[in-house]
Symmetry: C2
Subunit: 341 residues, 2 copies
């Protein structure tokens, strides 16, 4: 009895789970793709662990698994996508061709997604743009689980910030992180494992520092990088919530009434065409970036996502290992659909 599964087989299995749960073929495929990408890249907190939360959100009626997102793109650099209550990866997938085209035309373009349910990492999105030779910066709110620096109550989200820069002969330069000290998923994994949190990650419901994962989940997480990180978290609320007319993190929590479901809000992706900017100066931006990356690596520092890309190469070659519990869970979800959650 083997405990490994190939990436295509895992993709088919997860896609099937979402189809059984009633998602449209397009939503099932795009949602499964980002979950399988997480598992493939050894990001356990964004891998198959996320399936149950997605299904609970479907069951609670807080996401429309059959909605068809609508793309509203003129000739200008702003591409609006109304997700119509669908999962975010479906909305991103449908808006991507227009975002790519407008970015090439104008040098810069923005995709504003409204009304999606978000549960995934943002790196699959910025990587999709880097695969097309574009740089991209993506961000979205979450739900109110983070206290602003100097405050003591959950108000802001863990608001992920992701960036990718294309490289010709290597996987792209990519970062994607929660703008809290830790991702909520990491605290959840500590809770499941029964291990204490590092100092400085969170405060309890009374605003006191805590290392107890359960108390942290009842209290508030803290922004990364002190007041500077807190300012960035707030900027994400403004650009990817308020500006595009979608929910901020406190509003997303009000809408759901719980953090046990995936949050409903918007998202923005800002894309840049380095070749467009380069025309004015007659240089090769991708080649010049390599000089910087080499200098970083030369002093023993890492580029972000290097471990993820190494895991990806291994997973594509050998498949991924799943524990007996994980395999049992997938089998149960495949057989019972929404009845399993």
């Amino acid at each position: 009895m083997t405990d490994t599964i190939s990436i295509p087989d895992l993709d088919a299995l997860v896609t099937g789970i979402f189809e059984t749960a009633g998602l449209s073929a397009h939503q099932a495929r795009t949602v499964a793709a980002v979950i399988v990408a997480g598992e493939r890249d050894a990001c356990k907190s964004h891998g198959i662990y996320r399936i149950e939360g997605c299904l609970r959100t479907v069951k609670a009626g807080k996401v429309d698994g059959r909605a068809v997102p609508q793309v509203d793109a003129g000739d200008g650099p702003v591409v609006h996508v109304d997700a119509a209550g669908a999962f975010a990866p479906a909305a991103f997938d449908l808006g991507l061709p227009a975002l790519e085209a407008r970015t090439r035309t104008h040098g810069v373009a923005v995709m504003a997604i409204n009304g999606c349910t978000h549960f995934s990492a943002l790196w699959p999105e910025v990587e999709a743009l880097a695969d097309r030779g574009l740089a991209a910066l993506a961000m979205c709110p979450s739900y109110a689980t983070v206290a602003p620096t100097g405050g003591n109550r959950a108000l802001l989200g863990t608001n992920p910030l992701a960036f990718a820069w294309p490289r010709r002969d290597e996987p792209p330069y990519v970062f994607d992180f929660a703008t809290s000290v830790a991702a909520r998923g990491e605290i959840e994994l500590h809770r499941q494992a029964g291990t204490p949190l590092p100092e400085g990650w969170a405060v309890d419901a009374e605003g006191r520092p805590t290392t107890d994962p359960a108390a942290a989940l009842d209290g508030a997480m803290l922004p990364f990088g002190g007041h500077k990180g807190s300012a960035i978290v707030t900027m994400i609320e403004l650009l990817a919530g308020v500006m595009i007319g979608d929910l901020t993190s406190p509003e997303a929590l009000d809408y759901l009434g719980t953090t046990a479901l995936s949050p409903h809000h918007g998202e923005i992706v800002i894309a840049f065409d380095p070749e467009h900017f380069a025309r004015k100066r007659g240089h090769d931006p991708l080649q010049r970036a390599e000089i910087l990356f080499e200098a970083i690596l030369d002093q023993g520092a890492r580029l972000p996502s290097q471990r993820r890309f190494a895991a990806r190469a291994r997973s594509l070659r050998e498949g991924v290992s799943l524990s007996a519990a994980e395999r049992a869970l997938l089998a149960r979800l495949a057989a019972q659909g929404l009845d399993a959650v």
Copy 2:
């Protein structure tokens, strides 16, 4: 004998110093404006302390005080400004009308400034856009004084990141910070005051942690927020250096050969029109942002720049206090121009 000076009088004095040093009237006025704004807002590290560095850079022939920046803006959302070796505030000032117009037309626009000498805070620039009802994100390299997380040598810059969001009845929401733990100016002030640095700000020339300001200035500063901040610092090198065909922080240091002069490189400003994005959703983004700001203030947290705006109000009313040494310096610079540095 009074030790206070009104803001208009300080502005006339500083403008006169730069004109005596040979700057064009436009460069003298725009450079003086940001230096006086720093002093007015009690940002001593970006106030009159910066004048001598600017003059040294003029004297060294590394900035062209008489250059006239050229704006190259078509109908699209990218506005190119070739500073032609001028100080950055002159380039920003000349490109601002096109950036504002393109942002209103398209919803998003980018100003790429090339070939400027940068010495100032970025908040005067993002505030200028917020004063026009726009949100803005600005960033630029610096010179190689920061080690990437996991590395041990100066490679990246202190790369400032600034953002502003417009408010109707209050000064804008504004942050502007070095993406190093501390700004180089702060370390320099510690050196002048003979006080040790807090832990975690810097490493010495051998890559070992240090609290000695002089050793830190010989070694490398560290990014804010660990690997997350390091990733953001690198993103700024890519977008505001490599992408726009201008110098990265290590290249800027090579060009100057010293950190005692102001660095020559480029800059990008990304501007957003909240009203443009709002049209699609029929909401008032500025009103909705106030709900978020109120909630932050309600739990005792501060908005960034609150202290700066309080200082501004006081300075506009009462003038600013200058020490005897500061007054003597200004008098000497006014009398001797470049011969004083």
